[in-house]
C-alpha cells in the first residue's frame, strides 16, 4: 500500500500535497518574479525572502466576509468556484511524474486531460452567469468565446504526438521519447500547444475572461473571500498542470536529457520532471510579465485562421511521414 506504484496511498498523498503546495507557492513565486522582471523586489517581508506571504494572503482571504449577492443564483454561485480546483486536481492525477509515481494510469490519459480542461470552462461560465452582473456576464461570455477559440486547435496540435507514439497513455508517450524528445519532430505542435495551454489556464496574456482593465474582474467580480480564493487556486493548479503536461508531451517527461540520469530512477525522474516543470512555470510568469492582452476578436481570429491551419498541416505532415516510414 505504501509503495511507489501508480495509485498507492503514498502516491496519492504525495501528488495531492505537492500539487497543492506548489500551486499555492506559485502565487508567491509569480509575484516575486514579476517584481524582478519589472526591476522591483516583489513581496519579501513575511518570513525569509517573503515565502510566508502566501500564508498572510490566505489568512486575509479566510477572514474576509464571504458574501453571496442576494440577486445571484445562489446554488450555482456556490457550485461554480468548486468546479475549477476539483477538475484541475483531477487532471493532475494522470500526469506521470516518474516511473511509478502518479495517481492514475489511464490508457486515455490525454483525453482525460482534455475532458477536464473542457469542464474547467464551466466554472468560468457558471460563475459569470450566476453572478447576475453585467461585467461578470461579459467575462463569462469571453470565457466561452475563448474556449471555442482554443479547444479545437489544442486537441489537433496533440494528435501528431498520438500518431508518433501510437498511444493516448501519458506514460507510454513518455517512454516513446526514449530515442528523442517530441519537440523536434513536433515543433509546430509544441508552439501551438504552448499557446493553447496558456489560453487554457486563463493565464496572461489570454486572461480575457478576467480582463481587469476593461471588465473589473470579469466572471469573478461578485466573488469574495475563499470563493474567490478557489478560483485563484484553481487557476494556479491549472498552471502547474499545463507546465507539467508540456514536458510530458514534448520534452521527455521524467527522462533525463543527455543521459544525465543518477541514482534511483524514481529520484532521477522526479528531479528531471520537477526541473522541466519549473522551467515552464517560470516561462508562464515571464509571458505574463512581457506580453499584452490581445483583443477578444483577435484571439478568436488568430485561433481559427492561424493556429488551426498550422496544427492541421502539422498533423497532415506527421501522418504522411509516419505512413511513408511504415512503408
Amino acid at each position: 500500500m505504501f509503495s511507489f506504484e501508480v495509485g498507492s496511498l503514498l502516491n496519492i498523498a504525495l501528488v495531492l500535497v505537492a500539487g497543492l503546495v506548489i500551486s499555492i507557492m506559485m502565487i508567491w513565486v509569480e509575484r516575486r518574479f514579476l517584481g524582478f522582471f519589472s526591476d522591483r523586489l516583489g513581496p519579501n517581508r513575511v518570513g525569509p525572502f517573503g515565502i510566508f506571504q502566501v500564508i498572510a494572503d490566505a489568512v486575509k482571504m479566510l477572514a474576509k466576509e464571504d458574501w453571496i449577492p442576494p440577486f445571484s443564483d445562489k446554488f450555482t454561485f456556490v457550485i461554480a468556484p468548486m468546479i475549477l480546483p476539483i477538475v484541475m486536481l483531477m487532471s493532475l492525477g494522470v500526469i506521470p511524474f516518474a516511473p511509478g509515481v502518479g495517481v492514475m494510469d489511464l490508457n486515455i490519459g490525454l483525453l482525460w486531460i482534455f475532458a477536464m480542461a473542457g469542464l474547467a470552462s464551466y466554472s468560468t461560465m457558471l460563475g459569470g452567469l450566476a453572478s447576475n452582473n453585467k461585467f461578470a456576464l461579459l467575462g463569462a461570455l469571453r470565457g466561452a468565446g475563448q474556449m471555442i477559440s482554443y479547444e479545437v486547435f489544442m486537441g489537433i496540435s496533440i494528435l501528431g504526438i498520438v500518431v508518433l507514439s501510437d498511444s493516448f497513455n501519458l506514460r507510454e508517450i513518455v517512454e516513446a521519447q526514449e530515442d528523442g524528445w517530441f519537440v523536434i519532430p513536433q515543433f509546430f505542435g509544441f508552439v501551438v500547444f504552448m499557446v493553447a495551454g496558456i489560453a487554457e489556464s486563463h493565464r496572461w496574456p489570454f486572461d480575457l475572461p478576467e480582463g481587469e482593465a476593461e471588465i473589473i474582474s470579469g466572471y469573478n467580480t461578485e466573488y469574495s473571500g475563499m470563493k474567490f480564493g478557489l478560483f485563484m487556486i484553481g487557476e494556479y493548479i491549472g498552471m502547474v498542470v499545463m507546465s507539467a503536461i508540456i514536458p510530458v508531451l514534448f520534452f521527455g517527461g521524467w527522462l533525463a536529457p543527455f543521459g544525465l540520469e543518477f541514482g534511483n530512477e524514481i529520484i532521477s525522474g522526479l528531479f528531471w520532471m520537477g526541473a522541466k516543470t519549473s522551467f515552464f512555470l517560470l516561462f508562464f510568469v515571464l509571458v505574463r510579465a512581457a506580453l499584452v492582452r490581445p483583443r477578444y476578436d483577435q484571439l478568436m481570429s488568430y485561433g481559427w485562421l492561424v493556429m488551426l491551419p498550422l496544427s492541421l498541416i502539422n498533423l497532415l505532415i506527421t501522418g504522411a511521414v509516419v505512413l511513408y516510414q511504415a512503408g
Binding site: G35, F37, D39, R40, L286, A289, A290, V306
Partner: protein
C-alpha cells in the same frame, strides 16, 4: 498568401523579442528602496512637516501677520496675534490642522520673517485624527531652521523694547519733518 505569412512571422518575432527584453530585466538591480529599513535621502528643500523657527537671539520669529493663513489654500492655519510688554508681536496661539495640510509650501513663501518653514520630515501618520492638529508648542523649535542669520526686528523699522526708531541695521535715523534743515 506570402504576405500574410510574413505578417504572422513578424507578429511572432516581435512577441519573442519582447519576451527576451523582459527576461533581461531579471539581471537588473531593483530600483526599490526598502523604506523602513533604508531611509531614502530627503532633499533639504523637501516640503514636509511644518516648523516654526526662532531668530538667532532665541526669540520667536513669527510676528502673527496672518499672511500664511491667508496664503493657505486649504485654510488649515489659524493664529491669534498678541503683543508682549516691549511691543513685540507674537502669536497667542498658532494651530495647524495637518489632516488638511497639503504641504504646498505657500505659507513658507508668504512668510516675511522666515518663521514658518517646511522640513524634510514626512512621517506624520497618527492613529487619532485629533492628534493631527498641532499647536505652537509642538511646532516651535529652538533653532533658526534654514536661515541662520536673519533677525526680522534687527532690520525692521518697528520700535520694540531696547531698540528705538532708526536703530535697525541699514536704517537712517528718522527725519524730523518739522525742520527744514538737511
Amino acid at each position: 498568401m506570402f504576405k500574410a505569412l510574413g505578417k504572422q512571422i513578424k507578429i511572432i518575432w516581435t512577441q519573442l523579442v519582447s519576451l527576451w527584453l523582459v527576461f533581461l530585466h531579471l539581471f537588473n538591480k531593483a530600483d526599490t528602496v526598502e523604506y523602513p529599513d533604508v531611509m531614502p535621502y530627503m532633499f533639504p528643500r523637501w516640503r514636509g512637516r511644518i516648523i516654526l523657527t526662532r531668530d538667532p537671539d532665541g526669540e520667536e520669529r513669527c510676528v502673527a501677520c496672518n499672511l500664511c493663513a491667508v496664503a493657505c489654500p486649504v485654510d488649515c492655519i489659524s493664529l491669534q496675534k498678541t503683543e508682549d510688554e516691549t511691543g513685540r508681536w507674537y502669536p497667542e496661539f498658532f494651530r495647524i490642522n495637518f489632516s488638511r495640510c497639503i504641504m504646498c509650501g505657500f505659507c513658507e513663501e508668504a512668510c516675511p520673517t522666515h518663521a514658518i518653514q517646511l522640513t524634510p520630515d514626512f512621517e506624520m501618520a497618527e492613529y487619532v485624527r485629533q492628534d493631527m492638529v498641532w499647536e505652537k508648542e509642538h511646532m516651535l523649535i529652538n533653532g533658526t531652521g534654514k536661515y541662520h542669520d536673519y533677525n526680522f526686528y534687527n532690520v525692521a523699522g518697528k520700535a520694540i523694547g531696547g531698540k528705538g526708531k532708526g536703530e535697525a541695521q541699514n536704517e537712517l535715523p528718522p527725519v524730523d519733518r518739522k525742520s527744514l534743515l538737511p
